[in-house]
């Protein structure tokens, strides 16, 4: 079929929308509520084009192509309509851009600039809702919400959580939780994917920067920092460098310049997690379950399980996540080593994730009344902190991490992408079960951004069924299959965010799929390059077991590195 756009003929397939055809051919119209790969909603009407056959303005994101259709994208009428839409969206908006967390990275702001909105022609009653500060991870400011519904869709379609939806009608409409209560008592799993798709500042992470600065300025505190595997390959984009560039050394130097006393790598404790989790896997296989074993590194998945998949809680690994493992080790082993009281250590982590903020304040993540991790910042907050302290990321010499929690294997680094935990765990489990290393470390079947990956692996005379899912909706589908009697899967990795931590809810806003792919590729390149490719060969992990922990699943491990889960009573 052919359609005509701006007097040019383009090929189109039945079932496509006008926007699909335009995108393919480099014709740009502004969009706001539209999201690639989602069912169109047509809520914001930014993408209107003139349908010449009928003389109407139609939303190109939702209007299917028709044979012989003629469309104009930038007539005076269309441009006027779009401008009016922006002006109406601004009419009840707080207009406090300079004080907004998304200043400079806001679609609404961009559209206002693009459409040359320079005078206030429409002034409406300003929104006056209460902010929702209840969640430890996500802050909602409904005043800034333009009701595009992207957060609602990602929460429902990708996460299968549906914590939020439209409430009320007409001019009183707002986005909120069941019964319009705080996010903290809802089924929200804190993944932060809603923040990633929010075009304005209506959704943002709960900022911990003030507390962190206070600790940095407190001479009686030793401030320790750890960063997640995905951070070093994601931070570059915040500073205009090419996506996927590994800035690990630069970041270490920047963190020291800011004033952190010790710089550790969470990939180290990812190795530690692998030691514990592979031991747990082997224990469960040799002791008749419960199987499948499901990973517990992702706090959004863990909360999801506690709400929606209570029947699978016995399957979830008792291992704490790498963040919490290192947090616990820092305030025990490390505190002893530097002869400092645990309460005099302020432990900060940098995570690509908003759910980690929630995880850090879970009741069981403390020891003798002392929190294991005191503050969590996202990749975005880290970039803000670096700018605040005037560190020039483009002109700084790379530095190493600190001992004794700075060395990692590349297996630990792989945690940053979907499939990484699985690959790392299998490398070590293979060694523990057979006494030999794998001949080929790369497990291609679990690599890549696909939402669901499955394969069978042979370890000695053991046939292991493994599955890797990202996006909680995918997890739900897999768990439903197991509920229905599937029993060929023994080990499952679940990450809430599609693609894993590299696409987490705390990452740079505005990254497209190719940027995320670059981050993942960067992790794979590190794995190719590095000499230590398995967690059990990490010298610092070996030393930690020799000097402090004893053995995986031992008494000390159980006390510091493992936890338990229980059902959460929230409206589902």
């Amino acid at each position: 079929m052919n359609i005509e756009v701006n007097n040019k003929i383009f090929e189109a397939k039945a079932g496509e929308t006008i926007l699909d055809v335009m995108n393919r051919n480099g014709i740009k119209v502004p969009t706001l509520c539209h999201m690639k790969n989602y069912f169109p909603s047509g809520a914001c009407r930014m993408c209107v084009v003139e349908h010449e056959n009928t003389g109407r303005l139609v939303t190109s994101c939702s209007y299917p192509v028709e044979e012989g259709m003629k469309v104009k994208t930038h007539t005076t009428r269309v441009i006027e309509a779009r401008k009016m839409i922006v002006e109406l969206l601004l009419s009840n908006h707080p207009d406090d851009c300079l004080y907004c967390v998304r200043n400079g990275n806001c679609t609404l702001q961009d559209l206002a600039v693009e459409h040359h909105v320079t005078e206030r022609r429409v002034s409406g009653v300003k929104n006056n809702f209460n902010k929702d500060l209840s969640s430890p991870s996500i802050t909602r400011d409904p005043d800034k919400c333009i009701l595009c519904g992207r957060c609602v869709r990602v929460c429902e379609e990708v996460m299968g959580v549906s914590a939020i939806d439209y409430i009320n009608r007409g001019s009183k409409t707002l986005i909120g939780t069941s019964f319009n209560k705080g996010l903290n008592t809802s089924s929200c799993v804190n993944c932060g994917q809603c923040i990633m798709v929010c075009p304005t500042g209506a959704l943002s992470e709960k900022c911990h920067l003030n507390e962190i600065q206070m600790a940095l300025n407190n001479p009686s505190k030793k401030v320790v920092i750890q960063y997640a595997p995905a951070i070093s390959v994601s931070l570059a984009e915040e500073f205009g460098m090419e996506p996927g560039r590994d800035v690990n050394g630069i970041m270490n130097a920047a963190l020291r310049k800011i004033g952190f006393d010790y710089v550790f790598d969470t990939s180290f404790s990812a190795d530690l997690t692998i030691m514990e989790e592979s031991a747990e896997l082997i224990h469960r296989i040799t002791n008749n379950g419960p199987l499948p074993l499901i990973t517990s590194c992702c706090p959004a998945w863990v909360k999801y399980a506690e709400e929606f998949s209570v029947d699978f809680l016995p399957n979830v690994s008792s291992c704490k996540s790498p963040q919490q493992m290192l947090g616990a080790i820092i305030k025990s082993y490390f505190a002893e080593k530097i002869a400092t009281k645990p309460e005099d250590i302020y432990s900060v982590s940098i995570m690509p994730c908003t759910a980690k903020k929630f995880e850090a304040q879970r009741e069981d993540m403390t020891h003798q009344g002392i929190t294991d991790v005191d503050a969590v910042m996202t990749t975005r907050e880290l970039a803000q902190l670096i700018r605040l302290y005037g560190v020039d990321m483009h002109n700084i010499d790379p530095e190493m991490t600190d001992s004794p929690h700075g060395i990692r294997s590349s297996a630990g680094k792989l945690f940053g992408g979907s499939g990484g935990v699985m690959e790392a765990a299998l490398r070590t489990a293979y060694f523990k079960l057979t006494g030999k290393e794998l001949t080929e470390f790369k497990i291609h079947a679990v690599r890549g951004l696909t939402g669901r990956k499955e394969t069978q692996i042979r370890i000695g005379d053991l046939q292991l069924g493994i599955a890797v899912v990202s996006g909680l909706q995918n997890a739900k589908i897999l768990l439903d299959e197991i509920r229905d009697g599937r029993n060929d899967i023994h080990f499952i990795e679940i990450m809430a965010c599609p693609g894993g931590c590299i696409a987490g809810g705390g990452q740079h806003i505005g990254a497209d799929e190719s940027a995320i792919m670059s981050r993942l590729k960067s992790l794979y390149d590190i794995d190719d390059r590095d000499s230590i490719k398995v967690s059990h060969k990490n010298p610092e992990v070996i030393e930690l077991y020799e000097k402090f922990l004893g053995e995986p699943l031992g008494h000390k491990s159980h006390d510091l590195l493992h936890t338990e889960y229980k059902k959460r009573d929230v409206p589902l």
């Binding site: 429902e156 959580v161 549906s162 439209y166 409430i167 909120g176 069941s178 019964f179 089924s187």
Partner: protein, 154 residues
């Protein structure tokens, strides 16, 4: 006879998502309002998230989320009443009772509901308290009406 939530859902054993609104209506008819428990129960049965049900229910004026007060006051906001000042009446009432339309006072005594047209345009602006119609309500007469009801209770 009043039916419980379980009974209502039982009677519609094979109900799907499209029966949501009739089910909510029946529950409200029996219980007087939609409780959180009721919404959660309906959600479980129909496989719909509670946020969605709450979203649907708040879209329509007919659903309430708090039990009715001892005195349920319907304020007519139809055209004739509007022209003769029902907006002021509603505003005054909300201030008097310290409760908004759709809410119930803390002591459970009064609840306010906004209705479209009662069909008593000749009496506008009109309010209906437990079936008793009060005609040509003004801010002053409203104060008296509420005072009278409060005095009755003392």
């Amino acid at each position: 006879m009043k039916k419980g939530i379980a009974e209502i859902l039982e009677a519609r054993g094979d109900a799907k998502r499209d029966s949501l609104i009739p089910i909510l209506q029946e529950i409200q008819e029996n219980e007087g309002f939609l409780s959180q428990r009721a919404i959660a129960e309906v959600g479980r049965r129909l496989g719909i998230p509670t946020s969605k049900i709450y979203g649907v229910a708040t879209f329509y004026n007919q659903f309430r989320f708090e039990p009715k007060g001892k005195y349920h006051i319907q304020v007519c906001r139809g055209t004739a009443c509007h022209v003769l000042g029902s907006a002021t009446v509603l505003d005054k009432l909300e201030k008097l009772l310290k409760a908004k339309a759709g809410q119930t006072t803390r002591d459970g005594m009064f609840s306010i509901e906004v209705v479209a047209c009662i069909g008593a345009c000749g009496l506008a602006p009109v309010i209906n308290i437990n079936g008793n119609f009060h005609a040509k309500v003004t801010e002053q007469s409203l104060v008296e009406i509420i005072e009278n009801l409060k005095n009755k209770e003392v």
